[in-house]
């Protein structure tokens, strides 16, 4: 087991190739749930968990069923199905186990099922021919990067409530401007790790 490679994978997927700030994926959840720190953290945990499970499951299905059957072209539709099923399942479980968190995340939980990051992680791990452990590390790193982005954004937006922003920029426009600025900062990580 090459721990160095795994560590590099986690760092690269969370910082260097951060899905939100360098690839601009998953922005709907990113802007929708970052108004409050509490929901942002709840969302990050749910998101990372769902992502790791879905990536692992997708890898198993791909490797042991789709490759032997020569039906790799079904990749996208199968992964969407797996993700949607998982989200629906976690939705049902969450409603029972933690109703408070369920009430707070509300409609955004359903948004996970069609989220592009969740779909992009298994697709990339298959495309880069990662093995099982690497896929999980990659999913974990991506989830970590997404959580980082959410927490940074939520803390800025909570402070922003008190700021004197010009009227046309209040709300979402200001959030987009800030995202652009953070993305600029994140380009500083580029070239840190080349896999």
């Amino acid at each position: 087991m090459d721990f160095g490679k795994l560590f590099e994978l986690v760092v690269s997927s969370s910082l260097v190739n951060n899905y939100v700030f360098t690839m601009f994926l998953g922005l709907c959840i990113f802007f929708g749930v970052t108004k409050k720190m509490e929901t942002a953290i709840g969302m990050s945990i749910t998101f990372t968990t769902v992502m790791m499970i879905s990536a692992a499951l997708s890898w198993i299905v791909y490797k042991f069923i789709m490759v032997p059957l020569n039906i790799e072209f079904l990749l996208i539709i199968v992964f969407i199905g797996i993700v949607a099923g998982l989200v629906q399942g976690s939705d049902t479980v969450m409603r029972k186990v933690t109703p408070d968190l369920y009430n707070k995340l509300g409609i955004y939980l359903a948004l996970i099922s069609t989220n592009c990051i969740i779909l992009a992680v298994p697709l990339q791990s298959v495309g880069n021919k990662y093995n099982f452990i690497e896929t999980i590390a990659f999913a974990f790193g991506s989830g970590l990067g997404f959580s980082l982005a959410m927490i940074i954004m939520a803390s800025i937006r909570e402070k922003l409530e008190l700021a004197d922003v010009p009227v046309p920029f209040r709300g979402l426009p200001m959030a987009f401007v800030i995202t652009g600025l953070i993305a600029l900062a994140f380009t500083g990580f580029s070239g840190l790790i080349t896999l």
């Binding site: 020569n70 199968v78 199905g81 399942g89 049902t92 409603r95 029972k96």
Partner: protein, 397 residues
């Protein structure tokens, strides 16, 4: 079971035949790119495995989700669903909750929440919700949005020509809007856009017209109007100073022909002391106003709006009249006259239909005005109560 196997075998056989035929008919093409490229593909097993795989996967997921739904089922109060069914589903926020669902949950679970908060759904829904939740419905006073400005294109002036986005919220950014009067309606129809019931239409003279049959008093227009020119008030109060101008009289007059110039005539004429001039603006106290409409007739700039379509005139029933001459005393336009102890008569030309005499007449001899029904009903009720009391006193004695 055996039949199903046979069916699948037959089906895959058909697929194989299609594939065989297509191999002869269609040109052979490679699939994929780079190293994964294949010179040709075999359609038969491809289609077979695709179908079996997708079918199998969906079955597995279906069973797992069904199991999860059963195992982790959450009990939802059926009353919440019932309440949701009766609400208006406009998500207008008139009840003070984020949406209809939140209100339904609150009204079922919280004993303090009134069942009558959904104004768009009306009284019937409130009664239904009261039955479902075991609470008492309150009497709903119908509320309507009123536009507190009559300065249309013809009657008011503009400071400059606005050529931006046709929306009041955009127009107000440009120096507070193009209207000379800073208190007036901008007329770009933002209220029309937000009204969830289609009750607001913009007139050709750029003022919103509110349809009382459709308006539910949800306050969406009130909150969106950047000039705060729309007020939601009880529907029974039909006489209002439709102006918000706090400029001094001459300034108001310069900008608009129908503005309140705070002359104070309404204050003097009103028999109930309802209007009050404050900050260069007359405001009618809706609690005191009896909708007589006297101020409407006297207002020199016509700034007071009367939402009552027409006022029928008073008439005295001669056989009931006792000639007390109270009507002659209270009439603000001296329309009632007659000798004492003899039936009085009302001059139909002078009468403005204010209904004051109807309310004051001790024998309910005056009818025909808008408030006659109400006054008669109240008098009948009073009589019945008095009779009841008398009967009670008799039995006690």
């Amino acid at each position: 079971m055996h039949d199903i196997y046979q069916l699948i075998a037959e089906f895959t056989g058909v697929l194989q035949q299609i594939a065989d035929i297509s191999r002869h008919l269609l040109p052979q093409a490679g699939v994929g790119g780079e190293i994964e490229a294949k010179p040709f593909i075999d359609l038969g097993p491809l289609m077979k495995w695709t179908l079996i795989f997708l079918f199998g996967m969906s079955t597995v997921f279906g069973f797992v989700l069904a199991f999860a739904a059963k195992k982790f089922a959450v009990k939802v109060d059926p009353r919440v669903e019932q309440v949701l069914g009766t609400l208006a589903h406009a998500h207008c926020g008139a009840c003070g909750y984020a949406g209809c669902e939140q209100y339904a949950v609150a009204v079922v679970n919280d004993p303090k929440v009134s069942p009558s908060l959904c104004t768009p759904a009306g009284e019937k829904a409130a009664a239904k919700i009261a039955v479902i939740t075991g609470k008492k419905a309150e009497i709903l006073i119908p509320m309507f949005a009123r536009v507190m400005c009559q300065g249309n294109v013809d009657l008011s002036k503009n400071r400059y020509k606005y050529e931006g986005v046709i929306d009041c919220r955009a127009a107000i950014i440009a120096g507070g809007g193009d209207k000379s009067c800073v208190y007036g309606c901008l007329g770009y129809g933002t209220c029309e856009k937000v009204c969830p019931f289609g009750a607001i239409t913009m007139s050709t003279l750029n003022l919103p017209i509110i349809d009382e049959h459709k308006c539910t008093g949800c306050r969406k227009c009130e909150s969106v109007c950047p000039k705060k020119v729309i007020e939601v008030l009880p529907g029974s109060k039909k006489v209002l100073v439709a102006c918000h101008s706090k400029d001094k009289g001459p300034d108001t007059r310069k900008n608009c022909q129908v503005g309140c110039i705070s002359c104070g005539i309404c204050v003097k004429i009103c028999p109930f002391e309802a209007p009050k001039v404050d900050n260069n603006l007359s405001v009618i106290n809706v609690e005191k106003c009896r909708v007589c409409g006297l101020c409407v007739t006297k207002c020199p700039t016509k700034a007071i709006a009367d939402f009552m379509p027409s006022r029928s005139k008073a008439a005295i029933a001669a056989e009931k009249c006792i000639g007390c001459s109270i009507c002659a005393k209270v009439c603000p336009v001296n329309a009632s006259a007659g000798e004492a102890k003899k039936p009085h008569a009302i001059d139909q030309v002078k009468c403005v239909g204010c209904g004051i005499c109807t309310a004051k007449c001790p024998v309910q001899a005056i009818s025909g005005t808008f408030n006659a029904q109400e006054v008669f009903a109240a008098a009948a009720l009073k009589k019945a109560r008095a009779a009841e009391k008398a009967a009670e006193a008799k039995t006690n004695a």
